[in-house]
Amino acid sequence: MKNWKIGNRITVGFAAVLLIAATLGLYAYIQLRAIQRGTAHITEDTMPSINVISGIDSRAREVYATVLNHVLADNKSDMEALEKTLEDHSGLNTEDFKKYGSLVSDSHDQDLLDKAQVCRKNYDVAREDILALSRELKNKEAIALIHSKLTPSYRQYLQALDDIVTYNEKLGEQASTAINTSIRNSVSGIIVGVVAAILIGLTIAWFITRSITVPLASATAAVGDVAKGNLSITLTVNSRDEIGQITASLNSMIEGLRGTSRVADAIAGGDLTHDVKLLSDQDTLGHSLTKMLENLRKIVGEVSSAANNVASGSEQMSATAQQLSEGASEQAAAAEESTSSMEEMSASIQQNADNAKQTDKLAGRAAEDAKTSGTSVSQTVAAMKEIADKIAIIEEIARKTDLLALNAAVEAARAGEHGKGFAVVASEVRKLAERSQTAAADISRLTGGGVRLAHEAGDLLTKLVPDIRKTAELVQEIAASCGEQTTGSNQVSKAMQQLDQVIQQNSSAAEEMASTAEELASQAQQLQGSISFFKVSSAPASAPAVSHRKNSPLKSSPKAIHAIPSRNGKPGAVAIALDNNHNVRGDARDGEFQHY
């Protein structure tokens, strides 16, 4: 069944259900027909038979009653009326018998009818006899006859009729039973049939549905997965129906997608060497992918070569910028040093200028002071001379006194004992004179020295004044030229500063350029690295044209790092001492050099 087409499967399913329905219908029809037949038998045979017989019976009973009435009747008219009724009934009964004759069901029924007709005849005979008697008003005889003949025949007749009815009822019952049986049968048959039909239908439907939905569900799930991007699944194809075909198509679709995905994967992994396998001419995705791949190859190729160019270019630029930067920083250092020197010199010159100015001022004041001093000295000299003169007189007097006293002492001595008293006086006088002489001499010496010094000082001062003037003038000149120098050197210094600033800025710019260039170079390398991710040809991925400079002079300065400064903590500790055995005998690097 699995390999059946779904249409066939459904057709078969429906056919089966229809067959069951038809069977069921036929069965129901047959059953209904049987019921109909039973019913028809009852309605068209049994019931009319019974009705007819019942009519016959009732009329027989009326006839019987009429006969009795006839007997009882005493006039002709009544008799005639009764006879009329009898005749009508008899006629009706005859008709009914005829009617029943057509309703005879079977031979037994015929037998029964025959018997009833026999009985009727007997009865009729008896009745006519009676009637005949009655009409002659021979009631007694009639009654006797009734009893003797009519009633038994009447009873037989009724019996016969009753038998017919009973038989018909029996037949009717039989038919009814048959109908009931049929109905029961058809009901159960239909129920069974319907249940069976339902079950079978359901089963078939379930199977068909299953056979469609299960593969469809897996296909749907697969399509869902594919829609979600999962291409790892492969559907099992275990039928050759449409679903199987769909599944197979799905599988090939997934396979195709997988192929595309592999290519996309390769592209994602940078491998542009794989070609896209076109599934058909209408494979738009494939076409797009192929186009994309081609474009990518082209772009990557271009970018790659551009990146190589940029990398080598920026490497060169970086190197140049580095050189430039180093040059600039060297220049900057020189400029910095020059500026600092110039500043220092300017400061010195400024100081000189200041000093000169101060000296000039001092010299001016000194000249002034010297002049004043000169005058004071002259006055002093004059005063001292005067004092000296006065002192000279005193000295003179003292000397004279001394001399006189001395001579007096000599005289006294020579006078011997007579001069003793005088000698004492003379000695006293001489001592006084000597003291005043000493004092005068001291004053004289002092004033003399003072005068001489003052003279000398005066002379010097007098001589000094023009010297100082001259010096002051010279100092003024120095101050002026220092001022000029200061202005000049300040200008130079300022110019140097500006130059320095420019150079420092240049250095800064060069540094920044070097930095930028290096950054650029590294980015170019990065770009190269990035682009080398793509494999355009089957040759190995293009290696970066420029190797990473592991030992960029800027990034790592090779050095033996000395411990950082401060020995501040332990003053007096010897940290540096000349090593007399310190011997550089040359090292391996000397081999790279030779003498001039």
């Binding site: 090779p558 540096i576 011997n583």
Partner: protein, 291 residues
């Protein structure tokens, strides 16, 4: 394709904010004694950019935080000092001093030409070594004429980078231009590979020079020896007056009485109180007896 990061903002790198400058300047002045006026912003900027770049930081403010506030800041300090110090030097720079040393200072100090004499010289602020090697040449020339003369040069600098270069003693050929031909023949080696214009100082000259790191801002230099002469040229120009005075005083502790102190020609000791007196242009001498 957004493989590449966006290029860094130029202005972002460039910015050395006044606050950052003030912070750096204060630190540099305190640690190195180098005066930093606002004029130095471009200089500091360009120098810090190198460090910033080397550390892979995106702007100077981050570099500042890295230097001052991170645990790796200490390791960076050496490089920072290297970056912010100026190292300008040449062979036979300001040659007047070398003549003075040969013609005047050495004969003056050489009290007894018969005795063996070990001359000690300190080249303070030696930068990349041109000056100590120049001195080594000059003193070697002197040793050729005066028997029993030997010498040692102590060369110090704060920057380990320049000391490394100095120890290596390899220079670009254009740098030796001031070196006279006969001295080149004696004291220089040239690269064997013709493409590389490099020269190197002969081992015989390097032997006399000992390099050590020294920060002039240290309270005590811890130098054991006493020197006959100290070359301290073109370093003071970066210092302010009080620092100049303090440094000169500390240097003079290791200067023998009668020893010479050479400073840069633009430098002077006018207006600072130091125990030396001027004997020639930018040459000072320590009196034999300090009163």
């Amino acid at each position: 394709m957004s493989i590449l990061p966006p290029p860094p903002e130029t202005s972002e790198i460039l910015q050395l904010t006044p606050e950052s400058f003030a912070r750096f300047a204060a630190f540099i002045t305190k640690t190195l004694g180098i005066k930093m006026s606002e004029n130095k912003i471009p200089m500091l900027q360009s120098r810090l950019q190198r460090r910033m770049r080397a550390r892979g930081l995106r702007n100077i403010d981050r570099y500042r935080d890295f230097l001052f506030n991170s645990t790796e800041g200490d390791a960076e300090l050496v490089d920072f000092i290297d970056a912010v110090t100026t190292n300008k030097t040449d062979f036979f720079r300001e040659p007047h001093h070398f003549n003075y040393l040969r013609r005047t200072a050495l004969p003056t100090l050489d009290t007894d030409p018969e005795r063996p004499w070990h001359f000690k010289l300190w080249c303070a602020g030696c930068s990349t070594g041109e000056e100590p090697y120049t001195l080594s040449m000059v003193l070697s020339e002197h040793a050729a004429e005066r028997t029993g003369f030997d010498f040692t040069i102590l060369a110090t600098d704060i920057s380990t980078r320049v000391l490394q270069t100095a120890r290596e003693a390899v220079y670009d050929e254009p740098r030796i231009e001031p070196v006279a031909d006969e001295l080149r023949k004696k004291y220089l080696l040239r690269s064997r590979s013709p493409g590389r214009n490099l020269v190197r100082i002969v081992p015989g000259l390097r032997r006399h020079v000992q390099f050590n790191r020294l920060n002039f801002m240290d309270a005590d230099y811890g130098v054991a020896d006493m020197f006959d002469a100290i070359f301290f040229r073109n370093v003071m120009i970066y210092f302010d007056k009080p620092t100049q005075e303090a440094v000169i005083r500390k240097l003079c502790r290791n200067l023998k009485p009668g020893g010479y102190l050479f400073v840069g020609h633009s430098e002077s000791l006018i207006g600072i109180d130091v125990p030396v007196r001027m004997v020639a242009s930018a040459v000072y001498q320590k009196p034999l007896s300090v009163a």
